[in-house]
Amino acid sequence: MSSKPKQQDYQASEAEKTQASVAKAEKSYFNKTYGPLLREMRDVSMREDLGGVARGVAGADTMQSLTGQGPSLTGTKSVDEAADLASAAVGQMAAASAQGLAAQRQQQTGVLGTARGQAGEAMSGLAAASRIQNTKDLQAAKAKQMVRMAQTEAGVNLATTLGKQGFENLGNDTSFFGGKTKLRDDTGNLKGVTRKNTWSDRFKLGAYG
């Protein structure tokens, strides 16, 4: 006969505990090291004016290209030199602003994607945890059900055996529980008196035990 299930047999193994322990330490290190970095990146992406930097570069490039050679008399006398300079500078500034803003947005969505990725991991983690919990619940319910069934079955068996043995006893001139034997005379008729059975008599009577 198998022994009663022990709760410790169903607890996490040493390997599982160690794995969980390492994972917890890694997670803690990640949170401590990379969590602040990502938050800092978030703040920088909001605060940093990449457009301003790009515009500065674009302005310098424009001026260096168009006025870097120094002024010339021909240029000064030209009707549209200044207008061309303004036109080129406006175009460059617009391109630089767009480039800066695009870079900033890219940085921001990158930060958010990483943060959301972590949250996504957390969600699938919770789903996995609930799956583990569910398996455990089912196992526990199944175990309880098995215990209940076994108890009922044992009760039924006991009652059936008791009933069968009791009626068998009655048929064998003893009381229902087999405690006494009805005595008969030599002709086989009941004398109306009983004798108390010994344990040896009881074992002899037992047919279902």
């Binding site: 996490a12 599982e16 505990k17 969980a20 390492v22 917890k24 330490a25 997670k27 002024p71 008399l73 240029g75 000064t76 006398k77 009707v79 549209d80 200044a82 061309d84 300079l85 303004a86 036109s87 500078a89 406006v90 175009g91 500034m93 617009a94 602003s97 767009a98 803003l101 695009a102 947005r105 921001q108 969505t109 958010l112 994607g113 943060a115 959301r116 972590q118 949250a119 996504g120 991991e121 957390a122 969600m123 699938s124 983690g125 919770l126 789903a127 996995a128 609930s130 799956r131 919990q133 089912l138 199944k142 059900q145 039924v156 009652a159 059936t160 009933g163 009626f167 009655l170 048929g171």
Partner: protein, 194 residues
């Protein structure tokens, strides 16, 4: 800095490290649930506002368009300054009043053209950037949506499995009770037969 600089000598916390210093975890499942819950709380606390602000910007940002007139005016002003300084350097450069007026008109005209062109470029760029940002955000959101659906699927499968297990248990119980009844009936019949 070379790789050698990353040796244990510079990192006291890794020197003499032993796994015995690892945090003790008696219930991995609870630890897992705690960590994942904490991660989600961190996201809500640190990034939810950031995300909403970014969505808002992707929908409403007009910073490039707003800046275009300012840029056009400023660049026209700079060009005008350059022109005046050059003329001054060359002692008027022999320009007649008519030529000077024409230069000013060209600058003004170019300024207006620059403003119109700049605004058009800014509108296009703004729209492009906003759309790209929105697309990126939707992409991120879609990933989150997918994870959520996967989570929901797991939860609903779990609930269905539990419901099915309950149904099976009920059926088993009914069958057991019927067995018990028939067994008792058999005993009773046996008793009367005797």
């Amino acid at each position: 800095m070379g790789l050698a600089d990353y040796s244990n000598a510079l990192m006291p916390e890794t020197r003499g490290f032993s796994t015995s210093t690892l945090p003790s975890v008696d219930d991995p499942e609870k630890a897992f649930a705690d960590i994942t819950r904490q991660d989600y709380e961190n996201y809500i606390q640190d990034y939810r506002g950031f995300e909403e602000s970014l969505i808002d910007k992707a929908k409403k940002d007009t910073s490039l368009i707003d800046r275009a007139p300012e840029d056009a005016a400023k660049q026209a002003e700079i060009a005008k300054g350059v022109q005046e300084r050059n003329i001054s350097r060359y002692g008027g450069a022999g320009l007649s009043i008519a030529q000077r007026q024409e230069q000013q008109r060209a600058l003004q005209r170019q300024g207006q053209l620059g403003l119109a062109g700049g605004l058009n470029t800014a509108r296009t760029a703004q729209r492009d950037i906003n759309q790209t940002t929105l697309a990126d955000l939707i992409n991120i959101g879609q990933g989150v949506n997918r994870s959520s659906l996967a989570g929901m699927q797991t939860a609903s499968q779990n609930a269905a499995a539990k419901a099915s297990a309950y149904k099976n248990a009920k059926a088993a119980h009914t069958s057991q009770m019927v067995g018990l009844g028939s067994s008792l009936a058999a005993t009773a019949i046996l008793a009367f037969a005797i």
